[in-house]
């Protein structure tokens, strides 16, 4: 049996065998009975990264609550395990029951990052499932995908039977129902896909035709018949307090990236940073109540035994009742040695007080994200913080005794000049001065200035923008670094080549599928892992498929260009994005829309879907 062989012969030979065992606390082991739907969640990266992902935790327990569904998990096997599986001719297997992946009814991939796409192809290959959706027949599982990167589904259109747009809590159940009904009736694969297309939020790429203009841009994406929706609207839950949230979660044995209770305090963000895709696609802002969160926290502590609760959202300091929530959590859990943490912090000295309160229980470094080195550029990207905000925040942090600070920047932003880049070092110097004012010198201080490269993303005000060439990014990285001096300041930056590929894929069309497949054939996988990133192989893949990567990454798009993702409706509309882009060019900021609606369009997505604060009439 596969299970015995894996447990007795294979696992002793691999690094971190606990990645593949699947009997962690709170994992669900159901006996499969005929008539049930067998679903496997597939995360195209390692166990440690996948198990840090909140979405899987929610949907795994939600699906397993249903008596007619078995939901298991699979992660990208690490290279040592892949080698053994291929050598021994063993199939990719699920964690819980060690069942071959091909035996499942539905395989659901989550798309968190473009550079994990080759892992999807690799997992399908290891599972023995035809890679191209068109080559699958009734004997094969349905390969589906969701998550933030699904909002431009086209680069994966060749491989995925259908995509799910938006939040999964409601639509996943509808998909299970349709699947069960079709299977009972013996519906053919073709007809089942047609039925799925009627589920709101489901996109079946084989039912849509993409045509191109002579210059290579997209002419249109049209459904094959009139009864199919021209645009696919994302799904969004209306009331957070009413939507399912697990009261127990799998507790991995291995230390994962986010190894703690994740308490999701709200969804969406109203800050409106113009480069940020998450800030656009997760709208509207919907908060959970303190009562609801306290109830969940108590249950999760009891069921997991974790010693840390992380308050998760896109911008946790924006939670309306943050003080109240933290006070209540500390009252309840501090004596038990359970700490509270905030994963993201905005630049605002008020929050340092809060942070300090939290840190009485748990001490770690502090991270701030000014994103750009000059006020001018911060206004362009609508990062509504001033240098004074930063000074106040770090000064408060230093007074409270912090010595480790991380500042996040982005290189290659639209309109960026060399002066803006020099501003990164200047901000670093400003931080040092603040520390000196308090401690007299810079002893013990460690400031990391970390620069990622700007990647223009679909559904953002910068979706029309070109990305700087690799050479230009590298020049800018050295320029920024050359200005940074002294022991206390450290500069780190991202690989420009990786960001270039990310830019190609994230705004790619259906032709990118060919490149992905070619790159995988050449041996690309785990591209976001430094030691396995093979840029030269990617370049060969572009060459051999006749695709010019610069067309996708480095080209400024005209206003009237049809985008490969225009048929996906995230609520925020193109007019709003254009308006924001134009304001960016003029260096004009747009205020946080929590108080006044700026008509981004998300409230028109669906009847009853309201932004926080505008839902009480």
């Amino acid at each position: 049996m596969l299970k015995d062989k894996l447990l007795n012969e294979i696992l002793p030979k691999v690094e971190k065998p606990a990645r593949y065992i699947g009997n962690e606390l709170n994992s669900v082991h159901k006996e499969y009975e005929s008539g049930m739907v067998r679903f496997v969640f597939a995360f195209p990266d390692t166990y440690e990264i996948g198990m840090s992902h909140l979405g899987i935790k929610i949907l795994y327990h939600l699906l397993n609550k249903r008596e007619d569904v078995v939901c298991e998990r699979v992660f990208a096997p690490w290279v040592d395990m892949e080698e053994i599986l291929r050598r021994e001719g063993l199939p990719l297997f699920s964690l819980e029951s060690m069942t071959p992946i091909a035996d499942f009814d539905i395989i659901g991939f989550t798309l968190q990052y473009e550079m994990s796409y080759t892992n999807i192809l690799n997992m399908l290959s290891l599972a023995g499932i035809p890679m191209d959706a068109a080559d699958r027949d009734d004997s094969h599982p349905y390969v589906i995908a969701g998550g933030p990167c699904a909002y431009n589904p086209e680069p994966l259109a060749q491989f995925i039977d259908f995509f799910v747009m938006g939040e999964g809590e409601e639509v996943i159940g509808e998909i299970m129902d349709v699947y069960k009904e079709c299977r009972k009736k013996g519906t053919s694969r073709q007809d089942l896909l047609r039925r799925m297309a009627d589920v709101d939020g489901v996109y079946v790429p084989s039912l849509y035709v993409m045509t191109y203009n002579e210059d290579g841009t997209v002419r249109s994406v049209k459904p094959v018949s009139d009864d199919l929706p021209a645009r696919i609207k994302k799904r969004a839950v209306k009331k957070m307090d009413e939507v399912y949230y697990p009261d127990n979660m799998i507790v991995p044995y291995l230390q994962t990236v986010h190894d703690r209770i994740m308490l999701e305090i709200f969804r969406g963000c109203t800050r409106g940073c113009r480069f940020c895709q998450a800030g656009m696609i997760y709208r509207p802002v919907r908060e959970r109540s303190v009562e609801n969160l306290m109830d969940l926290a108590e249950k999760l502590v009891a069921s997991t035994g974790y010693d840390e609760i992380s308050l998760v959202s896109l911008s946790s300091c924006d939670y309306t009742f943050l003080d109240e929530l933290i006070e209540s959590l500390m009252d309840k859990f501090k004596e038990k040695g359970i700490g509270i943490s905030l994963p993201s912090l905005r630049i605002d000295s008020n929050y340092v007080d809060i942070f300090n309160k939290i840190e009485e229980v748990r001490k770690s470094g502090i991270t701030l994200a000014p994103e750009a080195g000059s006020q001018r550029l911060r206004d362009v990207i609508n990062k509504n913080v001033t240098e004074q905000d930063l000074v106040n925040a770090v000064s408060a942090a230093f007074k409270f005794g912090w010595r480790t600070l991380k500042l996040y920047f982005m290189i290659g932003l639209p309109t960026e000049t060399d002066e803006d880049l020099e501003g990164i070092a200047e901000l670093g110097e400003t931080v040092l001065r603040e520390y000196k004012k308090i401690h007299g010198n810079t002893r013990g201080l460690k400031v990391t200035l970390s620069a990622s490269s700007f990647v223009p993303k679909p559904h953002t005000p910068f979706q029309w923008e070109p990305q700087d060439s690799i050479e230009e990014i590298m020049r800018k990285q050295s320029l920024a670094r050359s200005k940074i001096r002294g022991q206390a300041l450290r500069f780190t930056y991202h690989d420009a080549k990786l960001s270039f590929l990310e830019a190609v894929i994230s705004r790619g069309d259906r032709r990118i599928s060919m490149v992905l497949k070619r790159a995988w054939e050449k041996g690309c996988r785990f591209d976001s892992w430094n030691e396995y990133f093979k840029f030269d192989l990617w370049m060969e893949a572009f060459k051999e498929t006749g695709i010019d990567p610069g067309f996708y990454a480095s080209r400024k798009r005209p206003d009237d260009e049809v985008f490969p993702w225009d048929h996906i409706d995230v609520g925020v509309n193109k007019e709003f994005l254009k308006r924001e882009r134009d304001r960016a060019y003029k260096g004009r900021t747009t205020f946080d829309c929590r108080k006044h609606c700026i008509k981004c369009g998300v409230q028109d997505l669906e009847e009853g879907l309201k932004c926080y604060g505008q839902d009480q009439g």
Partner: protein, 224 residues
């Protein structure tokens, strides 16, 4: 304020869980069971615990130990039942006793362990345990600093072959000296002319001792 010494099993289901990961799992179980454990001082408070020496990845055990300090008294029986209610599959407490708070850590008192090695060496290898122990037993010991050869004969406190697939042995296992039973299996197969395949061995730690007389940690510092 009590200190309790706990004997627990690490079963098949968790045999690929590392020592560090297992320690974390035990800590979390204490929290789920709402045990009134004492916390360490400092910014990162942890339950006050100490553990018996690590077990190699892939081995199972009927005799792992940890000590834990309480802030309020709790009878060992209550502790056992509360903990066994919340453990993940594969971990279970078999015994717990109240011990003197001044007693030394498990790691410093444990110096030996008994193992049962299951290995299908078959009937064609006769029992040559007696001869095996009459000679030097040279093994290659791999460590981070490289490979060195040592004679482990004086370190094999006990060794016997049971039937066609079982070896029982008592070896040093402590902070000063430690022998992995896999080395002993390999040495025996080399001597007796059998083929060694690491993945063919199934090793169980059956007890840990604080002396050569067979006293276990449960016999040290027990409160009257």
């Amino acid at each position: 304020m009590d200190r309790i010494r706990v004997k627990y099993t690490k079963g098949r289901d968790v045999r690929y869980i590392s020592h560090l990961d297992l320690m974390r799992a035990l800590e979390r179980a204490l929290r789920r069971a709402e045990i009134p454990f004492a916390l360490t001082e400092g910014f990162n408070p942890k339950p006050k615990m100490n553990f018996s020496p690590p077990l190699s990845l892939g081995y199972v055990s009927c005799a792992e130990y940890f000590d834990v300090d309480f802030t309020t008294d709790m009878p060992p029986e209550t502790f056992i039942s509360k903990m066994n209610d919340v453990f993940p599959v594969g971990i279970g407490i078999t015994e717990a006793v109240k011990i003197d708070r001044a007693s030394k850590s498990l790691n410093s008192i444990i110096n030996g362990a008994r193992y049962v090695i299951r290995y299908p060496f078959g009937s064609d290898i006769a029992d040559r345990a007696g001869e095996f122990l009459n000679n030097e037993i040279i093994i290659e010991k791999k460590s981070k600093r490289g490979v060195k050869t040592v004679d482990i004969k004086p370190l094999i406190y006990d060794f016997s072959v049971k039937g066609e697939d079982t070896i029982e042995t008592w070896l040093p296992a402590g902070s000063t000296e430690s022998i992995n039973p896999m080395y002993v299996l390999k040495a025996y197969l080399d001597f007796a002319g059998g083929e060694f395949r690491e993945e063919g061995a199934f090793i169980t730690r059956t007890e840990q001792y604080i002396d050569r007389d067979g006293n276990t940690p449960m016999q040290a510092g027990v409160c009257a």
